[in-house]
Subunit: 361 residues, 4 copies
Amino acid sequence: MTIMGNSFGNIFRLTSFGESHGPAIGGVIDGLPAGEAIDLDELQRFVDRRRPGQSSLTTSRREADRVEILSGIYEGRTLGTPVGFMVRNEGQQPADYGQLVHSYRPSHADFTYDAKYGLRDPRGGGRASARETLARVVAGGLAMQLLRRMGVAVTAFTSQVGPLQLDVDYHDLDLSTVDNNPVRCPDAEMAKRMADAIENARAQGDTLGGCVTCVVSGVPAGWGQPVFGKLHAQLGSAMLGINAAKSFEIGLGKVFASRRGSEVLDHFVMKNGRMGTVTNHSGGIQGGISNGEDIYFHVGFKPVATLMREIDSLDDSGNPVTLLPRGRHDPCVVPRAVPIVEAMAAIVLLDNYLLNKTTHL
Amino acid sequence: MTIMGNSFGNIFRLTSFGESHGPAIGGVIDGLPAGEAIDLDELQRFVDRRRPGQSSLTTSRREADRVEILSGIYEGRTLGTPVGFMVRNEGQQPADYGQLVHSYRPSHADFTYDAKYGLRDPRGGGRASARETLARVVAGGLAMQLLRRMGVAVTAFTSQVGPLQLDVDYHDLDLSTVDNNPVRCPDAEMAKRMADAIENARAQGDTLGGCVTCVVSGVPAGWGQPVFGKLHAQLGSAMLGINAAKSFEIGLGKVFASRRGSEVLDHFVMKNGRMGTVTNHSGGIQGGISNGEDIYFHVGFKPVATLMREIDSLDDSGNPVTLLPRGRHDPCVVPRAVPIVEAMAAIVLLDNYLLNKTTHL
Amino acid sequence: MTIMGNSFGNIFRLTSFGESHGPAIGGVIDGLPAGEAIDLDELQRFVDRRRPGQSSLTTSRREADRVEILSGIYEGRTLGTPVGFMVRNEGQQPADYGQLVHSYRPSHADFTYDAKYGLRDPRGGGRASARETLARVVAGGLAMQLLRRMGVAVTAFTSQVGPLQLDVDYHDLDLSTVDNNPVRCPDAEMAKRMADAIENARAQGDTLGGCVTCVVSGVPAGWGQPVFGKLHAQLGSAMLGINAAKSFEIGLGKVFASRRGSEVLDHFVMKNGRMGTVTNHSGGIQGGISNGEDIYFHVGFKPVATLMREIDSLDDSGNPVTLLPRGRHDPCVVPRAVPIVEAMAAIVLLDNYLLNKTTHL
Amino acid sequence: MTIMGNSFGNIFRLTSFGESHGPAIGGVIDGLPAGEAIDLDELQRFVDRRRPGQSSLTTSRREADRVEILSGIYEGRTLGTPVGFMVRNEGQQPADYGQLVHSYRPSHADFTYDAKYGLRDPRGGGRASARETLARVVAGGLAMQLLRRMGVAVTAFTSQVGPLQLDVDYHDLDLSTVDNNPVRCPDAEMAKRMADAIENARAQGDTLGGCVTCVVSGVPAGWGQPVFGKLHAQLGSAMLGINAAKSFEIGLGKVFASRRGSEVLDHFVMKNGRMGTVTNHSGGIQGGISNGEDIYFHVGFKPVATLMREIDSLDDSGNPVTLLPRGRHDPCVVPRAVPIVEAMAAIVLLDNYLLNKTTHL
């Protein structure tokens, strides 16, 4: 992040703007390499993956969320100049949010934004709304088109919903099937169980947490920076900046803590003439720099704080209030977080590819 | 991080330099507020906490690691100008590292640094050595002196060593006792068991992973940035940049993923006239901004990759080599990581305090 | 500037986007302090000052250039979140630019953009068009509203057009009359002569260079940064980034070079209880930091390179071409540069005010 | 500059530290490309060029100013990691500065540093001393070694001392003779006159301003950034950050303001198969991006404010004081500014070469 928190990336950098129910959400993408063909239809399809209202599992708010490119792309190719873009906010139902003007929802950002800024846009969470992630999938979608040209593929999927954990090595999953079900879990049976659990939570006006796993293949050895700029530190920063994300693990992640060194060394082996490793406990990164193996990591999300129940809380004078269930909210954000995780990973990777070009004269 | 990975922080910023066995480790600290009294003896004591050789549990490399301040402090007070500092590297035993000039240790950064830079300083891990964290504890130690003046306390402790997990709410621990034992676990009995486990691993030439928990009290509501600059994203980035760190969790962390929303809402309650919360599952941060409750998080570390055993590996031509146990290495880095975690947390917090001063005219 | 050149400022930061004849020009303003009332009509009037077509002295391209605020302002007050904004490009006459698709205009950026990016938007200069400065006057206009609340006034005026130089101490001018004539010179008689010179150049299909002087009053002692961040270095960077700007002078500027030290010392004197100086040769800045006197500086502009004549040039294959006079262009940009100079100065000053808040704990 | 003013550059970045009479002056150079051979003796010779005491024209303070490299260079080659370096401050004569503890020298930074920071190191100007530029010539000297490998040469020279202006096109000068005389003017006769003028000023306890011109050859078309990052805006920022610099002009500079467009167009012409220009009024940059012609610019310096006379001033309580001539000071800084100008130019150019590598995938 940089300074005020609304920019991300070094060479390839997204600066985002927008409140949930203001005129528009958008951003500026700087550092997009020049002369690259961009498929705007494909970009729109990628953006659509985070759109609500795609199934009964997600919120019923229906928005076109049509991305309008305002600059930087000319006759289908990138100019090397910044790409301004925006998505008009439509379908606002401000009446839904009237009760929030002076009240604080528990485990939401209403109070902390007031504490920091002294005021806030109470409509739909304002700047703290997950709708802001629209800007990220636009930037990430562009990054993914370029990464694919270099043979880099970024695929995320739902690996946990509430207590249901997908306990399968990702090599044994067919990652091309992620979008075959609304849960975005590439194990059809587990996907069915997860969907049932989400429906069950919804029926009770409750919500569920979960986990997204992301696998990046095709990154050669040498990407990433030393010390504070370790590639997994950058990925961690990117993921923990996503709304509701609460944990980040690279490779074996937290499992490492309970292991002995002799159990988790990734021994070297020659693979088709390149230096590879037999196992990949480290998740494709050593010393902060990619080693040529798959990069994989896990992002844990808390359950959405907006329950479809009456909630006791306080208003901004400290008086008790009862918040009524209003608005349209996902009982589990994890399926919609999948493209956001991919997008943020793609931003980090393209940025590090570009940074790495400056390592030598 | 910024650009090349060797700087951290926005307003309060550390730029670090140094290879493990080069002339010196050091850095420049910019943005240290002017006119503040600094206790250099206290700073040295803080730095000494990460020094190896403090007990049989840590490496026997003995270094004075005397911090020399080169600028920015005059007659005991900060000038507002950058603080240059360095620690001479002494006690190098380069002969220890001769076998590493052309060989790659598994799960170390030897290969990835070569892949990125085309060359490396093979002595003691060069820039990838944990000795670099010296620069961080100097900056963090200064930050802690200033934070304390604002009533902010940062305390970390060992909460896991291998399979031994301290399963106690931190409120039930006496955090003033962290340094009473070499493991830095504020539960004397668990500390004893952890120490035994580390000795046991050492006796077998093996190593152990573990976990550090950090508690920050006294941060008022309103620190942190929105979107990409969420306070826990900054903390996550800071922690994941520490050598061997592999996971980061804020508040309940990964536990959130398996929970229902109704189980983990932090309901508001008035506390001495301020807006507080009954529980603190979120770890003191909502929407990326502090809410006035304690901030706490967990950092998981992999077991050190340097075993005191013969290790089969490859050289930089891809030929098999056997690496002999050499050098002095901790069987478990977690106790020494405690002050490093505190230091990085302090850097993030002081930086965000300063950033927050610019929120209003 | 930062990295890719499209952002300016540290805490208060403008990131701009847009090509002259693309869908829109716009930007994101981050770091605008929260809770401030904004007068959007006043902002529009400020933006209108750089609009072409205001008199016969400027280009006849007529554009509404209506600024649309997309975020960050709610119920008339700043939220502390980024202000996205845009101005639709209208009135494009792409046919005017057909001859430029494969030809390079002398002393324009056509060739250098091609050399850098490998392609360019040939319509109206693309990203290199002065139309991009629209984004700057929006950000600068917002900054000026806030600066005024602190008693800081920023006023620029035309001090030279071609060989006609206004050789009057600015204290002897009535700076409130700057906009009384289309040349924006606060000396009515000189303004008349300048206007005649511009008309004369236009009649000959020629153009004129000139100079803008800017005076900033009300800045207290202490703004600015040391070393590389000297306040006049920041102002110089800001001004030299304006299209066609070729020189920058602070205070006496270039005149200093020919003087003796004994002639130009600014001796101290008490002024109403504050430390002031008798003279102000230095332009209100010593050692890069404001000293409480007026800040004033001069920006020199080259004559516009687009003549209303046939021009011999080369195409992108190196073959001779004759460019015909097309499009609508100012014979002298200096009058329209006046608000742009003010805007960039205001951005620098507000940013430094905010930076300075972090000097002490 | 970045944030606190003590860093410069984007990819190739110098962070400097140090007070004139503190323990050391030094810095960290990040982004130096990996694997490059460095000639440390040549670096020392380059640094020595800014050293005082080289002739009767400069101050008699004699310092070894031996640069000690602390990291980042191993066995004569760059590691790609940050280069920490320092120069011990020796020869301090603190007694010289006793009278300045509570007094403000006119046209110095004593008062403004106090106003900003609330305290200062009064010895020798502290952080505001030109001795800080030592860090810049170290970074610039390294940059020049790399630039030369790419065929880029940076040469500055004294073009004005007081009223004596070298009015010769630089093509008619032998730039290899710059260091043949202590004034660093490559016109032997003018150099003699300038030296006399400086001696004359010294004899009267006075000082002289002047100008440095810098010529950069070998930069291909395409370096530099758009909008705020124009190459001449970066150069201007770099030069105006040098102590005592008060004006910056690119190419014809201020002369442009008085000219007609038809007089100063740089028409295209093919030169050995590349697109060149007949004239080079613009100084090798169009639209902020290099066009392949020589880059040249002029930096004006004020006369040093420290006269060898009694000076009436005020103390920090506003009471009159008489400052006695003390210390060792140049009567004209311009000759010693020559290598500093070269160094800052080299930093900007290497940084932009590296930035430009990221323009394409």
